[in-house]
C-alpha cells in the first residue's frame, strides 16, 4: 500500500497540484491529530505567602474556629509520631508510578483541582430530563440518582448553588484549619525528618491538621449531597489526595486524620443549611407556573410560554426564593430590576426587530461569540465558565490554599446570589423570549426554557466581574470585556433582547457588590 501510493504520487508531472494538496492534507492530519489534555495544566503550586492570620478571617456561616474541636497533636518526639514518620519513609521508598502521578496531580493545588473536578461533575450532570411518551417530563430524584433522568439536572441555577456550597464550605473549613495549624505549629514531616523528601512544594505552613485532608473531607461531603451518583469517583479522588499528601512528605497520618474529621464536621453545617435553603421547593409545580402566567396576563403582558415540544415546565421556577449568601430575601426583592419594556410597547417591537435583524445577518465572528459563551446543556454552565476564568488568575497569583479558597467562595457566593436575584426577576415578570414574540427568529444556540428578563449570563457575569475585579484589580478591564461579550453573545444567539442584557449586567453588578462589601472587611486584605 505504501509503495503503491508513493508510485502513484510520483507518476505524471501534471499531477503535481493534486499531489501537493493531498500531501498538505496528510501532513495536516498527521500534525494535528494529537491527544487533548483534559484539564488545565497546573504547575506545582508554591504559595508566596502562608497567610498565617487566616484563622482570624471573618466567618460566613460558622460562628468561629472554636465551633469545632481539634485535639492537640502528639509531640514530634513521641513514639507515635516517630512511627508515623517511619511509615512515610517506607511509603516513599516504595512509590508506584500511579502514586507519583497522583502527587504530581495534587501538586497543582488542591483547591484548584477540586474546582476542576466540580466543573466536570456539573458538565456531566447538566442534562435536562427527556420527555416521557405521554409528553410529560419526569423530575430528577435525589433518592434515585442513577435513574433516567439522572439526579441532578445541574442547570445554571442548580450549578450556581452547587459551586457556592462546595467552595464556601471549603473556605470556612480551611479558615478553621489555619486557626489550629498556628495554634499547634506542628511542622510538616519533611521538615522534621531529613529522611523524608518533600515531593510537593512545601513552605513553613504547619501541617496539623492537614489542609489536603480538610479539603478531601469537606469536598466529599458537599459533593455527596449535590452529586450523589458520583460518590464513588469523588471518594476515590479524595482518598488519592490524602495518600498524595502523606506520600509526598507533606502530612503525617495524624495530620490527615485530624484534617479529615474537621473537613467532615464543617461540611455537616453546610449540609444542614442546604436542607432548609428553599431548594427543595425550587422546582415548583403546574399550579405555581399557571399563577406566574396569570399574573403577567393580568398586567396586560404576553406571558412566557415554553417553546419546547412537548412544552416543558420552566426551569426551577422558585429558585428566586432560595436563600442567598450575602443578601437577605428582602435585599433580593429590593434589587430586582425595574420592569422590561411592555410586550405591547413600541420599544419592545424595536427590541424584537433588533434580535431578528441580528440573527438574519449573523456574521461568523458573532456566531463564534454566541458559541463561545453558550455554556448550555452538557457544559459546566456560565458560573463554571467564570470559575474557569478565575482558575488562571488564582494559579498565577501563587496563593495559599486558604486564599485560593477565598477567591472561589466569594466568586461563587456572588454568582449564587446573582442566580437567585435573576430568577426572582424572571418569574416576577415572566417575559416571553424573542422567538415567542416573533416565530421567525431562529436561534444559533439552544433556547433556554425559562422567561427572558433579565439575562442570566449577564447577571452571573456582572456579579463575577465585580468580585474578580476586586480580587484581581489588574484583570478588571479583561473581566469587563468578557462580561460584555458574554452578555451580547445572547443577542447574537437570538435568545435575549438588548434590555435583558443591559439590565442583567447592572443587576449582577449590584448583587456582586454585597459580596465585595463582605470581602473588604473579612480581614484578608
Amino acid at each position: 500500500m505504501k509503495n503503491e501510493s508513493t508510485r502513484t504520487l510520483r507518476a505524471p508531472r501534471r499531477l503535481a497540484p493534486a499531489a501537493l494538496a493531498a500531501a498538505v492534507a496528510l501532513a495536516g492530519v498527521a500534525a494535528c491529530s494529537r491527544s487533548i489534555p483534559t484539564l488545565e495544566e497546573l504547575t506545582p503550586q508554591t504559595a508566596n505567602n502562608d497567610d498565617a492570620g487566616a484563622g482570624s478571617w471573618k466567618m460566613i456561616l460558622l460562628s468561629g474556629p472554636t465551633q469545632f474541636t481539634v485535639a492537640p497533636p502528639s509531640a514530634v518526639s513521641s513514639d507515635a509520631y516517630q512511627a508515623e514518620l517511619a511509615a512515610i519513609r517506607t511509603a516513599q521508598a516504595n512509590l508506584t508510578q500511579a502514586q507519583k502521578d497522583a502527587i504530581d496531580y495534587w501538586s497543582g493545588g488542591a483547591v484548584l483541582r477540586w474546582n476542576q473536578i466540580l466543573r466536570e461533575l456539573v458538565a456531566r450532570y447538566n442534562l435536562p430530563p427527556a420527555p416521557r411518551d405521554d409528553g410529560s417530563y419526569p423530575a430528577p430524584d435525589a433518592n434515585n440518582p442513577f435513574a433516567d433522568p439522572a439526579f441532578p439536572f445541574a442547570n445554571p441555577p442548580y450549578s450556581a448553588r452547587a459551586y457556592s456550597y462546595v467552595t464556601a464550605a471549603q473556605f470556612e473549613a480551611l479558615k478553621v484549619a489555619w486557626y489550629y495549624k498556628y495554634q499547634y505549629n506542628r511542622p510538616s514531616p519533611s521538615r522534621v525528618d531529613s529522611g523524608i523528601q518533600p515531593l510537593m512544594p512545601t513552605t513553613d505552613l504547619p501541617s496539623y491538621p492537614s489542609e489536603d485532608a480538610v479539603l478531601s473531607g469537606v469536598s466529599t461531603e458537599m459533593m455527596r449531597l449535590l452529586f450523589p451518583a458520583a460518590i464513588e469517583e469523588i471518594t476515590r479522588r479524595a482518598g488519592e489526595e490524602r495518600d498524595a499528601a502523606l506520600q509526598s512528605g507533606k502530612a503525617s497520618s495524624s495530620d490527615i486524620a485530624a484534617g479529615l474529621a474537621l473537613g467532615r464536621a464543617v461540611a455537616a453545617v453546610f449540609v444542614a443549611r442546604a436542607g432548609t435553603d428553599g431548594m427543595a421547593q425550587a422546582a415548583g409545580n403546574a399550579a405555581q407556573a399557571q399563577a406566574y402566567a396569570s399574573a403577567a396576563t393580568a398586567r396586560g403582558e404576553v406571558a412566557w410560554k415554553s417553546l419546547e415540544t412537548p412544552p416543558r415546565p420552566p426551569m426551577l421556577m422558585n429558585f428566586g426564593k432560595v436563600l442567598p449568601w450575602m443578601m437577605t430575601p428582602t435585599d433580593i426583592v429590593r434589587e430586582r430590576p425595574g420592569p422590561p419594556p411592555s410586550t405591547s410597547s413600541s420599544q419592545m417591537a424595536q427590541e424584537v426587530n433588533e434580535v431578528r435583524d441580528t440573527v438574519d445577518h449573523l456574521s461568523r465572528e458573532q456566531l463564534a461569540i454566541a458559541l463561545k459563551w453558550n455554556d448550555g446543556a452538557g457544559t459546566y454552565t456560565p458560573p463554571g465558565h467564570w470559575n474557569d476564568i478565575a482558575t488562571e488568575y488564582v494559579r498565577d497569583a501563587r496563593m495559599s490554599e486558604v486564599r485560593a479558597a477565598r477567591v472561589f467562595a466569594l466568586l461563587n457566593m456572588a454568582m449564587h446570589d446573582a442566580g437567585v436575584g435573576c430568577w426572582d426577576s424572571k418569574f416576577a415578570y415572566y417575559n416571553p423570549r424573542p422567538s415567542q414574540m416573533d416565530p421567525r427568529i431562529r436561534t444559533s444556540i439552544g433556547l433556554p426554557n425559562f422567561p427572558s428578563y433579565s439575562s442570566g449570563h449577564s447577571t452571573f457575569s456582572g456579579a463575577a466581574t465585580v468580585v474578580l475585579s476586586y480580587l484581581f484589580p489588574a484583570g478588571a478591564s479583561s473581566f469587563e470585556a468578557m462580561r460584555d461579550e458574554a452578555g451580547i453573545s445572547r443577542l447574537y444567539g437570538g435568545i435575549h433582547y438588548r434590555a435583558d442584557i443591559l439590565n442583567g449586567k447592572d443587576h449582577g453588578a449590584r448583587i456582586g457588590g454585597y459580596t465585595v462589601a463582605f470581602a473588604r472587611q473579612d480581614g484578608a486584605d
Partner: protein
C-alpha cells in the same frame, strides 16, 4: 443525530457514478477514466430524517422534528493515464429543522481530492476480468463553518486522509461485483469554546481529537451499453468517540456508525454524446449517533475527451 455532513459527503462519493461510455467513476468503484478524458457534472442530493440514534437508543425529538440536508455537489474525474485518475469534489450544503427554533446552516463544505490507481488487472478468458484498485483521498474544509451546531452543522470541519483498496470483478455478461474498504485518519477540530464534555470527560481545550474511521462497501449490479444499475451495502465504523448522552446534543467526535443500502440507475442519453443522467436512493438501516436518513439524488455528468 448526524448523518449529513460527513456521511453525506461519503454518500455523494458513493452515488457519483457515470462517466465515459459504460464507465462509472467514483473513488470507491473499480472503473477508471481513459487517458485524457474528463468527466464532470453536478449532483443534487436531498437527505432527511426524523428519527436518530442517541447512542444506541432510537428516538425522535420534537425540538427538531425532521432534519433535512440538501446539497449540490460539483465533481470531476480525469484520466491522467489509463491506470491513474484524479477525482475532485466540492459540495455546497444547506440544512434545516422542521420544528423548534434552531437556525439552519449553509455553506461550501469540504474539498475532496483523490488519486485512483489500477494496480493490476487479470482477465479470465470467456468470463470477465478482475481488477485491484488503490486510492488515496485528502479532504479539507473550504469554509469556516462551525462543526459545533450538530445536527444542523454542514460538516465536521476535520481535515482527513484516506487509504482505500478495491476489488472489482466485471463479467462479460455485464454483471459486476465490487468490494472496497478504506481507513480514514482525521485531524483535530477546533471549536469556538474553551471547554467541552464528551465521552465521560471534561476537556479544558477548544481542540477536539477526532477518532479515525473505517468504512467498507460491497456492491453488485449491471453495467452494459447505456445502462448502469448497481446496488450496494455499506458500513461506516468510527473507531472511538463517545455516545450522545441522554437528551444531549450530538458532538463532533461522537462514535458515528451506520449501515446503509444504496441503489442507483444511470443512463447515457443516446441523443447527446457523453451525457449521462442518474438518480439514486439510499437509506440507513441501522446506526449509532446518526440520523436514520433517507437520501435521494439526481444529477448529470458529461464526458469530454481531450
Amino acid at each position: 443525530m448526524r448523518i449529513h455532513a460527513r456521511s453525506l459527503a461519503c454518500l455523494l462519493l458513493v452515488l457519483l457514478a457515470p462517466c465515459a461510455k459504460a464507465a462509472a467513476q467514483t473513488i470507491e468503484d473499480g472503473i477508471l477514466m481513459p487517458k485524457k478524458a474528463l468527466c464532470t457534472g453536478f449532483i443534487y442530493t436531498h437527505d432527511s430524517w426524523d428519527e436518530y440514534w442517541e447512542g444506541t437508543l432510537k428516538r425522535s425529538n420534537g425540538n427538531i422534528g425532521a432534519i433535512t440536508t440538501q446539497s449540490v455537489a460539483w465533481m470531476g474525474a480525469y484520466g491522467i493515464t489509463d491506470r491513474l485518475n484524479a477525482i475532485a469534489m466540492v459540495p455546497y450544503l444547506w440544512t434545516g429543522a422542521s420544528q423548534g427554533v434552531l437556525q439552519g446552516q449553509s455553506g461550501v463544505q469540504d474539498l475532496s481530492l483523490a488519486l485512483k490507481y489500477r494496480l493490476l488487472e487479470t482477465p479470465f478468458t470467456g468470463a470477465g476480468s478482475l481488477r485491484v484498485i488503490l486510492a488515496a483521498t485528502a479532504g479539507t474544509p473550504l469554509s469556516d463553518y462551525t462543526p459545533d451546531f450538530l445536527p444542523l452543522s454542514i460538516g465536521l470541519a476535520s481535515s482527513r486522509f484516506s487509504g482505500r483498496s478495491t476489488l472489482y470483478f466485471h463479467a462479460d455478461s455485464g454483471f459486476f461485483v465490487n468490494a472496497t474498504g478504506a481507513y480514514t485518519w482525521r485531524g483535530n477540530v477546533t471549536l469556538d469554546r474553551p471547554a467541552y464534555f464528551t465521552d465521560g470527560e471534561l476537556h479544558m481545550s477548544d481542540e477536539v481529537q477526532m477518532p479515525d474511521v473505517f468504512d467498507y462497501s460491497v456492491s453488485t449490479g449491471y453495467i452494459k451499453g447505456a445502462w448502469q444499475v448497481p446496488i450496494s451495502f455499506s458500513q461506516q465504523l468510527t473507531l472511538g468517540g463517545g455516545d450522545i448522552r441522554r437528551q444531549d446534543m450530538p458532538f463532533v467526535s461522537n462514535k458515528m456508525n451506520l449501515s446503509r443500502v444504496d441503489a442507483l440507475v444511470k443512463y447515457a442519453l443516446p441523443w447527446v454524446r457523453g451525457l449521462q443522467v442518474q438518480v439514486a436512493a439510499a437509506h440507513i438501516v441501522s446506526g449509532r449517533n446518526v440520523g436514520q436518513g433517507t437520501t435521494l439524488s439526481a444529477g448529470f455528468l458529461y464526458t469530454i475527451g481531450f
